[in-house]
Subunit: 233 residues, 2 copies
DNA sequence: ATTTAAATTCATCGCTTGTTGAATTGTCAA
DNA sequence: TTGACAATTCAACAAGCGATGAATTTAAAT
C-alpha cells in the first residue's frame, strides 16, 4: 500500500497551511489585535511573547517572522491606528472651520473636533479601537515611550490644533496654550485608560465605559478651562 | 601564626555588618527609595529585583528578607507616602474652610487645597516625592493596579473633597461632579508623569518639571471647568 | 513538472527571572 | 560566656524569557 502523497485528509500540523483553511492569512492581524489588547492592559514588559502567541492562537515563532523583535512589534501596533485617527480629527477640524467661515471658529468647536472622533472610535464595533485608546493612555503617561512615540506620531496634529486655538483665543500666551493642551491631554488619557475607577469612586453612578457621558462633559469642561486661562484676562 | 579571631581589620563580606559601619540599617529605606524611582519609570514588570538591588546597593536576597515577595514590596512603596499626602491635603482643605467661614468656600480654594500640596511635594528637597508622584500617575492610569490601590488608599480623601465641591456648587448633579473630578485627576496625573513631552511639543517654551507653572495654570483651568459643568446652567 | 518562495511548527539556545535555604557574622540580653 | 536572634551574602533552584535555525508543507512562478 503505497503512501498516498497528494492531499492527505488530516491537515498537516507543520508547514504552510492550505489556502482553503479559513482563518488563513490574517494571522498577522490576529497578532496585532491581541498585542494591542495585551500591551494596553499590561504594558510592554507585562506581556510575554508566549502569552501573546497564545492569545492570538498562533505559534511564538510566527510573531518574530511577521514583525521582527518585540520592540518593533510594539512600534507597529502603536503606529497602525495613529494615521487613521489623525486624519479623522483633521477632517473634523476642517469641517468645523468651513462651517464657521467667514467668522471665527469657537473654542468649543475646536475641542469638539479634537475629542469627538475618540468617542466614536471607542464606541465603534471594532473593539480594537478601545484597546488602542487604552494603549495610547499607557504610552502618553510613560516617561520611556511617551516622548518618543507620541512626538513621532502626534506632534504634527498638535501643531494644527494649537494653531487653531491660538486664532480662537487671540489674547493668549503660547505657554498658557500648551499647558492647557497638556491638561486636556491628561483628562483624555485617563478616560482612555478605562480603569473602572470612577465606577468605584461614584459607587456605580458613573461608568468608565460610558464614553458618551465622558466626552459630553469633557468638551465644555476643557473649553471653559481654555477660556479661563487663555482668554481675555 | 594563629589566626586572629577578634575584629579583623577588613570587614567581613558576609554576615551581619558592624553597627559602626555607616550606611548601616537604613538599607530598607534605600530599597524603598530605589523601588519608588524604578517602578515609577518602568512600571511593575519593567523592574527586576536584581536591577533594583543593584540600584539600592544591596544584595537581592535582602529585598525579600525585608519586604517579602515583589508584589508586597510594590504595595509597601505605594502605601508609604499615601497617608502623608492625604493628611496634608485634608489640612489644607480645613484651613481653607476655616478661613472662608462663615461664608461659602469657593471652588478655587477647594481645588487649590487638593492640588497645591502636590506642587510642594514635587518641588521638595526630598527627590523621592517626585518619584512617588510619577508612580501615582502610573498606578492611576493602570487598569490592573488603579482600581485596587487608588481606591484603597485615596477613596476616603476623594469623598471629602467631593463633599466640599458639592457644597460649593449647590446646583450640581453628582454624576457631573464625579466626571469633573475624573478630568482633574487625569490632568494631574499627566503632570505627575513628568514625561518631558510638553517640552518637545512647545519646542522648549514649557518645561515638564516646572511644577509651579503647571499648577498655577491648572487650578484656574480646573475650577473653570467645574463651574461650567457643575455650576448654574 | 520543477523550482523557488512563503508560511508554519518545533526544538532548542543562552540568559534572566523571582524565590529560597544554608552559611556566616554581628548584637544583645541572660 | 553563652545563646538566641538579627542582618547579611552566596549559591542554587525551577521556570520562563526572547530569539533563531532547521525542518516541513503548501502556493506560486517558470
Amino acid at each position: 500500500m503505497p503512501a498516498q502523497k497528494t492531499v492527505p485528509k488530516t491537515p498537516a500540523k507543520v508547514g504552510r497551511p492550505r489556502s482553503s483553511d479559513k482563518d488563513k492569512s490574517e494571522r498577522g492581524d490576529r497578532i496585532l489585535n491581541a498585542a494591542e489588547e495585551l500591551f494596553a492592559l499590561h504594558g510592554y514588559d507585562g506581556v510575554t511573547l508566549r502569552t501573546l502567541a497564545n492569545a492570538a492562537g498562533v505559534d511564538v515563532a510566527l510573531i518574530n517572522y511577521y514583525f521582527g523583535p518585540k520592540q518593533q512589534l510594539f512600534d507597529t501596533v502603536f503606529k497602525r491606528r495613529a494615521q487613521i485617527l489623525n486624519e479623522q480629527r483633521l477632517t473634523a477640524l476642517q469641517d468645523a472651520q468651513q462651517e464657521a467661515a467667514p467668522g471665527v471658529i469657537s473654542v468649543e468647536k475646536i475641542i469638539e473636533a479634537f475629542l469627538r472622533p475618540l468617542e466614536v472610535a471607542q464606541e465603534s464595533d471594532d473593539e480594537g479601537w478601545k484597546n488602542y485608546c487604552a494603549l495610547l493612555a499607557y504610552v502618553n503617561n510613560s516617561a520611556v515611550w511617551g516622548p518618543v512615540l507620541m512626538s513621532k506620531h502626534y506632534n504634527d496634529l498638535v501643531d494644527v490644533f494649537v494653531d487653531a486655538l491660538r486664532e480662537a483665543l487671540p489674547q493668549s500666551d503660547d505657554a498658557d496654550l500648551y499647558w492647557c493642551y497638556h491638561y486636556m491631554s491628561g483628562a483624555m488619557s485617563l478616560t482612555f485608560a478605562n480603569t473602572g475607577r470612577i465606577d468605584k469612586m461614584s459607587r456605580g453612578l458613573c461608568r468608565s465605559d460610558d464614553f458618551r457621558a465622558a466626552y459630553d462633559r469633557m468638551i465644555p469642561f476643557v473649553a471653559a478651562g481654555f477660556r479661563q486661562v487663555c482668554g481675555e484676562h
